[in-house]
């Protein structure tokens, strides 16, 4: 790969190349829309309108973006340690249990007390679910990709059993817990700010805080430095006196905890009860968000808003154009992962030819 390693100005590697990959993904998505007999431009217009056209639309977009931020950060933190955490979905799901337990048992308390406890429970349960694959990777060399996939399915089974058999509200068929009361209800942001009523809730603020904290942690602390060294070259880490195994475990715990944010946003912030499958695949979307955001919190923010807009716009699109499915967004997500992740360097040799100094 002669074009693979040649130096390029930073703005090509960090701006032009990701944008070109994104454009390629969207181009293929456009062709897909064409294949369904619809006009891609009409679809884009409908989605943009649906995502940003009103205060309500923006609220929904940011509500979805909240999940994307947590998921993207979770994947990105693991990536910095050279780990591919496919298990964010399962970790977030288990976190939902923690949030629900806090809200179910403590909702007699005031919300300002319950909410921090719920955040702590979300982080703790998410980290706990990541702990076993982390330990297995660090100490026994079991490949984290496979173990986290397996743990997703174990989480599905466990949660289904818990919700259907243990936590279900008595005398009802729908597999969900009772709705939370009083202190278990996280008020929408529209209660504090002049916004349209939407599920957007303080979890969004927590997500923004996490963005900032992760940025500080990864780029401005000794721990973050050590983690990046482990991810870049485990050998260099050993040389530097860093213990890769320890960092691997810590990074996975943090990753799982961040994934727990999804549960906080969904269970306490939006649904106000625990229901089956509330994670909705956001854990996997995190892979696309992290790849597109190049594992940088700022990039993750941009990518999360983009995907939030896609989700919200996609829902509206299905409304406006009955022959279009909101699942189009899922397909776009797959294309983004393919082009910015798997084929991320495909265009680079061309850029080297065009811009490279020989």
């Amino acid at each position: 790969m002669s074009g693979g390693a040649a130096p390029l100005p930073w703005w090509i590697d960090y701006a032009l190349l990701p944008l070109a990959n994104l454009a390629l993904a969207l181009l293929v998505a456009g062709l897909l829309v064409l294949a369904t007999g619809q006009s891609p431009l009409t679809a884009v217009a409908a989605m943009a309108q649906g995502a940003f056209g009103s205060g309500e639309a923006v609220g929904y977009t940011l509500y979805y973006a909240t999940d994307m931020i947590f998921a993207g950060l979770a994947v990105a933190v693991a990536f910095h340690g050279g780990l591919f955490n496919i298990g964010v979905e399962g970790q977030a799901y288990i976190s939902g249990l923690g949030v629900a337990l806090v809200c179910l048992y403590l909702d007699a308390l005031p919300v300002w007390l319950v909410a921090p406890l719920a955040v702590a429970a979300a982080a703790l349960f998410g980290a706990g679910w990541a702990a076993v694959p982390a330990w297995l990777q660090a100490r026994r060399g079991s490949h984290i990709v496979i173990t986290t996939i397996m743990f997703n399915f174990i989480a599905y089974a466990l949660m289904e059993w818990l919700i259907v058999n243990v936590l279900i509200k008595r005398g009802q068929m729908a597999p969900e817990t009772r709705g939370f009361n009083g202190g278990g209800l996280l008020p929408g942001l529209d209660r504090f700010l002049p916004l349209a009523p939407t599920p957007l809730n303080p979890a969004f603020a927590v997500a923004l805080a996490c963005l900032l904290l992760v940025w500080l942690l990864i780029w401005h602390t000794r721990w973050g430095y050590a983690l990046r060294v482990v991810g870049a070259s485990p050998r260099a880490a050993v040389y530097a006196g860093i213990r890769p195994a320890r960092l691997v475990i810590q990074a996975m715990l943090l990753s799982g905890a961040l994934g727990g944010g999804i549960a906080f946003n969904e269970v306490m912030g939006a649904q106000h009860k625990l229901l089956i499958g509330f994670t909705g695949g956001y854990g996997f979307t995190g892979i696309a968000v992290a790849l597109m955001g190049r594992n940088h919190p700022f990039g993750v923010l941009l990518a999360a808003v983009l995907f939030g807009a896609l989700y919200q716009g996609g829902a509206e699109l299905a409304f406006d154009m009955p022959s279009m499915s909101s699942d189009l967004v899922v397909a776009v997500q797959g294309l983004v992962i393919l082009f910015t992740g798997g084929l991320g360097l495909m265009l680079r040799p061309a850029f080297v030819r065009a811009f490279g100094r020989s």
Binding site: M1, L32, A35, T36, G37, Q38, F84, I86, V132, L136, R140, G141, S142, H143, V145, I146, T147, I149, M150, F151, F153, I154, A157, L158, E160, W161, V164, N165, G281, F284, I287, A288, L291, P322, S323, M324, S325, D327, L328, V329, V330, A331, V332, Q333, G334, L335, I337, L338, G341, G342, L343, G344, L345, M346
Partner: protein
């Protein structure tokens, strides 16, 4: 007795797509290409088979379409993994997510039934042969055939070698890329057949995410089978049997134990795989070159 027969019959039915997808994963990984995109390729096969069978009324054309769709995705994975030397896990994930969204999008646009394909009349589903669905036979034949090809043909020898040490294959004058492309194509084709079975034999049409994680289950079977044909087959049968048992256990009170939670039985394959991977019981050693692109430069 009747109960046992019906249990066995159910096991066989559930095992078919697992075996097909399991051998797809086996071939790919033995050639050094990690494939977590089995799920997506199967789903693509399921959708293509159901859509084409619905339109043409011909289940065999559906099968052909399934094989073509999943085969193309196999080649996409190959392009990323072999030609572009990209991340194989990322590519597999991309395929899974892409197909999940794509199938629903196309389904809704073409058939306007909320993403489903129209229910297939009996004539557009696979016929039976000797009392079993016709695809059951090739699936079970695949096991000895796959074993024989891997261990008794030149192609199998080269395939196994390229997953362990591609440089040895290269210096022996055999193209690494061509072998690996063959492997991903075979994996795609097998996944296509598995998908067609799910949509046009087990079910009578396509519904959302109808492969239901069987691609990952097949992956677990490959790991549990330590990347070898007969043990992988055994793992597929075991998983299928557990599934069949789980369904029959629903709501049944077993003496001494009480009501067995079905969900726990369903989680057993995943737990077993993790335990094996942890190295406490035996050791699962993947093909040495699996997951790493072949780079010749020093």
């Amino acid at each position: 007795m009747n109960e046992l027969v019906s249990l066995l019959a159910a096991t066989v039915r559930v095992a078919v797509p697992l075996i097909l997808a399991g051998f797809a994963g086996l071939v790919s990984e033995r050639a050094g290409i990690v494939d977590i995109g089995l799920e997506g390729k199967m789903l693509a096969g399921a959708f293509a088979a159901a859509a084409i069978a619905a339109v043409t009324g011909n289940v065999w054309l559906g099968l052909l379409g399934a094989v073509a769709a999943a085969g193309v995705l196999g080649l996409v994975h190959g392009f990323v993994a072999i030609t572009q030397r990209g991340n194989q896990v990322v590519s597999g994930m991309a395929i899974n997510i892409l197909v999940s969204g794509l199938s629903m999008t196309l389904g809704l646009a073409w058939f306007a039934q909320g993403g489903r394909t129209p229910p297939l009349p009996p004539g557009a589903r696979f016929p039976e042969l000797f009392g079993q669905d016709v695809l059951v036979w090739p699936a079970f034949l695949l096991v000895p055939l796959g074993w024989w090809v891997l261990s008794h043909t030149s192609f199998g020898l080269r395939l196994r070698a390229v997953g362990e040490n591609p440089a040895a294959v290269d210096t022996a004058g055999v193209s690494v890329a061509r072998l690996r492309y063959a492997a991903v194509l075979i994996a795609g084709v097998l996944c296509g057949v598995a998908g067609a079975y799910i949509a046009t034999a087990q079910a009578a049409g396509f519904v959302r995410d109808m492969t239901g994680g069987r691609g990952y289950l097949a992956l677990a079977a490959v790991v549990l089978g330590k990347w070898r044909p007969f043990p992988t087959f055994a793992a597929c049968l075991l998983f299928a049997g557990l599934d069949a048992v789980a369904i029959r256990l629903q709501g049944v009170v077993v003496p001494w134990i009480g009501q067995v939670p079905v969900e726990f039985v369903q989680a057993v394959p995943y737990v077993m795989t993790v335990v094996l991977l942890a190295g406490f019981v035996g050791r699962a050693v993947p093909p040495r070159a699996a997951g790493t692109p072949y780079v010749k430069d020093r």
